[in-house]
């Protein structure tokens, strides 16, 4: 080729420019992603600071009393309690979606395990056995979902909605059959584990005076982060969701990785559902049941947390914190706002946050079937 030498130079220039631009795009997108989340974090901090200042200036005003409610040991403790089911479901959702299977049925997994755990505890007389039975029920349902999606290539969104609807119908029905009411009998609640000395720290003491599931939640968040980022399995999960063919040609069975990830979401949601039920000691099955959208909030939480377990914990604490505040505001009548409006605070926050976050980087192959050897 006679033109090689001359055009080659120009081509090299063009190539480098293209590379630089690509890098630039990546950085720009990264900053934009960051800015949405940063904005939410900063806004939250600023709001708290503003309340704090107002409280110092005028401790007896309604703003001052609001601060007293928001920043208190009991609010933090309620926040942690309310976070547990959402965080477990969210981390389960992270595993499933990172592997390429969008598990929109987390809500259903929470419902089925909440009922099964109570029923199990009631029958066996042991909370631990109840937990295991709850986890088993949720995992079996997740397994059905996995088979339908992975083996039979069903649409993941529709199958996920089916999981929710099945659980939404099945759990109250089973309760009706066994207990004669959508609400089960009470099986007692879990006590708290109090860590001496640490529990006496003002405000943060709530972290060391909590029910066992709260501690388990923190361990799970750390463990999930480690598994996803530091183990070969975690890397396979990510590869299965980003470019399954790359994983397949590297000699790893994509379906097995996806099955494992979905089953993990079943196990974790099972723990979350059981913890939710044991928190008040019974399963209540009226309307949206006691789960009441927590599985869906979990999806928002992990999206907002950008599929990072720690991020999911942070965003859950934000939503759960608002929920805790809202619960306490209902009893105080500080601002003279009707209860029903106050109750919408967490949901309004979800919408605002979603709008602010903008784009989350969804795994490339999420929601897509993968069949080995398909050309």
């Amino acid at each position: 080729m006679t033109d090689d030498a001359d055009s080659g130079e120009a081509a090299a220039d063009g190539g480098e420019t293209a590379d630089r631009e690509r890098t630039g795009d990546g950085l720009g997108a990264g900053l934009r992603r960051l800015s949405g989340r940063l904005l939410v974090a900063l806004a939250t901090a600023a709001l708290l600071a503003l309340l704090g200042v107002a409280a110092v200036v005028a401790p007896e005003s309604s703003v001052g009393r609001l601060f007293g409610i928001v920043v208190s040991t009991s609010t933090l403790s309620a926040t942690l309690r309310l976070s547990v089911p959402i965080v477990f479901a969210a981390i389960g959702g992270i595993f499933a979606e990172k592997s390429g299977v969008i598990n929109i049925g987390l809500e259903g997994l929470l419902i089925i395990s909440a009922f099964s755990a109570v029923y199990g505890a009631d029958v066996t007389g042991s909370m631990l056995a109840g937990l295991l039975i709850g986890v088993l029920a949720s995992t079996v349902l997740a397994a059905v979902f996995a088979v339908v999606c992975i083996e039979y290539r069903a649409d993941q969104i529709i199958a996920g909605l089916a999981v929710w609807l099945i659980a939404l119908g099945l759990a109250p029905f089973a309760s009706q059959v066994v207990y004669g009411s959508p609400n089960t009998d009470s099986v007692g609640t879990l006590g708290t584990w109090t860590i001496p000395v640490l529990a006496d720290i003002p405000l943060l003491g709530a972290l060391f005076d909590a029910a066992p599931p709260v501690y388990l939640m923190f361990v799970t968040v750390a463990g999930a982060w480690y598994v996803l980022n530091r183990t070969a399995f975690g890397r396979w999960v990510r590869a299965a969701g980003e470019n399954p063919r790359a994983l397949d040609t590297a000699g790893v069975d994509v379906s097995r990785v996806r099955y494992a990830a979905v089953l993990i979401s079943g196990v974790l949601s099972g723990i979350g559902g059981a913890a939710l039920a044991f928190n008040i000691g019974q399963f209540t099955g009226n309307g949206p049941t006691m789960v009441n959208g927590k599985g869906f909030i979990a999806i928002v939480a992990y999206l907002f947390g950008n599929y990072n377990p720690v991020g999911a914990l942070g965003s859950t604490m934000l939503f759960a914190g608002l929920d805790a505040v809202q619960l306490r505001l209902q009893t105080r009548q500080i601002l003279g706002v009707p209860d029903s409006l106050v109750q919408t605070i967490p949901f309004v926050a979800v919408i605002v946050v979603l709008a602010l976050v903008g784009r989350t980087r969804i795994p490339e192959a999420a929601g897509e079937h993968y069949e080995s050897g398909e050309e």
Binding site: D4, D6, R235, E242, N243
Partner: protein
């Protein structure tokens, strides 16, 4: 031509495929194909689209099981059930579409599935993985940053990562499927340098291509496939472009076309001082003027990314103009809609057939309708006449030899070359006054390229105006009557394509003026 069956050098061959036959429902993709590849050599597998090259390599890589024949690697007959078996036997394949995970780093991609572990598998040994990758790239002289993310590096580097991935898994035989399709000329040369480095260290390379020059430049031996059969194996030294082209296509190919002198008529397209910004707001086209007359082909040459894409899109009506004017046969089309431009007689062959030329999930009947869905004879009173649409698609398929000749097939099921032929056919069938063709033969095999070139010449002698953009120099040079060279958004010069040499063009494409004056002056005569 050497009769590959009787060279008798099996003992030293890295790969010997013996009488491979692979049938798919309705097609024999490989029919008693023989291939012998000497250890430490570069072997090109040359053939047109659909000649069975990729099928043959998929057999060697264990993706397909052959219906007949033997696969012998290193003198040992093998029976591969899966790529895993092939990898274990030292055969690695680099696919045309890279199998890389974009958000992961180079190291993570190379070690995927074979991660070095510690603590009883509880953790990936990331230091060791990184060291191994660094060692490997140093041994073969690859310049690759082990910590870079795939999405941040160029295709050339991604390809090297793919090669490293295969080497990391212990490959001795590397199969590359159309490795140059996505590379710039500079990257192609670097890749061929990599080939030399690898063969010097005893690796064997088989690469699939349909580009004659590449096969002759990079390979030691060339095996030509045609319609699923081995046509012959030649030493690269004994090969000539003409001979290879004839073997590939099975008839004589005119690589250079003689054609009558231009007899240009009235100006059809007139572009004045056009300025266009790209998606990021950077000025991509800077004060460009040009005109194309009836019976004339106006070519634009340049390295990709110098504003050709934006210029063409602005003219086609797909991109907003930031300054200047576009007129179509005296009608001011600067802000005209796409549909108005089509109705005014503009046909457009887009650069990326899959992104903007076809709806991949539609069948050919619907795809043939695109752009004419509102007009007679296909539409009346808002209803589409599907019989007319089908007839139209069938005409295109027949005239442009689109295979398979089935208008109910989805566009996605066609090979790239056949998709391109269909798009070109649809656009040329509009009875256009002006054809804007952007890379009309990109990814198309020799036979089809010749065919498309003939059609462009027909348009010209038929008195149509053609604006042709291509990064293939020989293409713009042989087809154009006037040739503009674009660099960083402006025309460096407009030259007489018959008088200019490739060296001079190369200089112009790099933004420099050659010593000899090749200009034909005024951009819009």
């Amino acid at each position: 031509m050497t009769d590959s069956g009787e060279t008798g050098r099996t003992a030293t061959d890295a790969v010997h495929l013996d009488g491979i036959t692979k049938r798919f429902p309705g097609v024999v993709a490989n029919d008693d194909v023989d291939l012998q590849v000497e250890r430490g050599s570069v072997h090109a597998l040359l053939g047109e689209n659909g000649a069975g090259k990729t099928t043959l390599m998929n057999v060697l890589y264990g993706l397909y099981e052959p219906d007949e024949g033997r696969v012998v690697v290193d003198g040992t007959p093998r029976d591969f059930d899966s790529p895993r078996d092939a990898i274990d036997a030292g055969v690695g394949m680099i696919h045309q579409h890279f199998m890389l995970v974009d958000p992961m780093t180079v190291t993570e991609n190379i070690t995927l599935g074979n991660e070095p572990e510690r603590w009883l598998g509880l953790s990936i040994d990331r230091e060791r993985a990184r060291e191994e990758v660094v060692d490997l790239s140093e041994r073969y002289g690859f310049d690759v940053d082990p910590d870079a993310r795939i999405e941040d590096v160029g295709v050339g580097v991604q390809q090297r990562v793919e090669i490293l991935k295969a080497l990391y898994r212990g490959a001795d035989v590397l199969i590359l499927d159309e490795p140059t399709a996505v590379l710039t000329p500079q990257e192609v040369r670097e890749l061929f340098g990599v080939f030399e480095e690898l063969t010097a260290q005893g690796k064997t390379i088989i690469f699939i291509t349909h580009k004659l020059r590449e096969a002759m430049t990079a390979a030691d031996d060339i095996t030509v496939l045609r319609a699923g059969k081995t046509v012959g194996t030649l030493g690269a030294a004994d090969a000539s472009r003409e001979r290879l082209a004839e073997l590939m296509v099975g008839r004589e190919i005119l690589l250079d076309v003689d054609r009558p002198a231009a007899d240009p008529g009235e100006t059809v397209l007139d572009v004045r001082d056009l300025t266009v910004e790209d998606t990021r707001g950077v000025r991509a086209v800077d004060d460009v003027s040009l005109s194309v007359r009836e019976g004339e082909v106006f070519g634009i040459a340049g390295v990709d990314g110098n504003g050709q894409a934006e210029l063409v899109e602005a003219i086609a009506g797909l991109r907003e103009v930031d300054g200047g004017a576009i007129s179509l046969g005296g009608w001011d089309a600067t802000d005209a809609s796409r549909r108005d431009r089509i109705d005014a007689g503009m046909a457009y062959v887009p650069e990326d057939r899959q992104e903007s030329g076809l709806v991949m999930d539609f069948d050919l009947v619907s795809n043939g309708l695109l752009g004419s869905q509102h007009a007679r004879p296909f539409a009346e009173n808002g209803r589409i006449d599907w019989d007319a649409a089908r007839e139209h698609a069938e005409e295109i398929v027949a005239e442009y030899d689109v295979r398979p000749a089935n208008v109910d097939a989805r566009a996605a099921s066609l090979s790239g070359g056949n998709q391109q032929k269909f798009v070109v056919g649809r656009e040329f069938a509009r009875d256009p006054r002006l054809v804007v063709a952007s890379h009309p033969t990109r990814g198309v095999d020799v036979g089809s390229t010749e065919f498309i070139h003939d059609r462009i010449n027909d348009l010209r002698s038929d008195g149509r105006a053609v604006l042709l953009v291509s990064s293939k120099l020989d293409e713009v040079q042989s087809l154009s009557d006037r040739l503009a060279v674009i660099y960083e958004g402006s025309f460096v010069d407009v030259v007489d394509p018959d008088a200019v040499t490739e060296e001079q063009l190369g200089l112009l494409m790099a933004g420099e003026q050659p010593d000899a004056d090749v200009s034909v002056g005024e951009v819009s005569q």
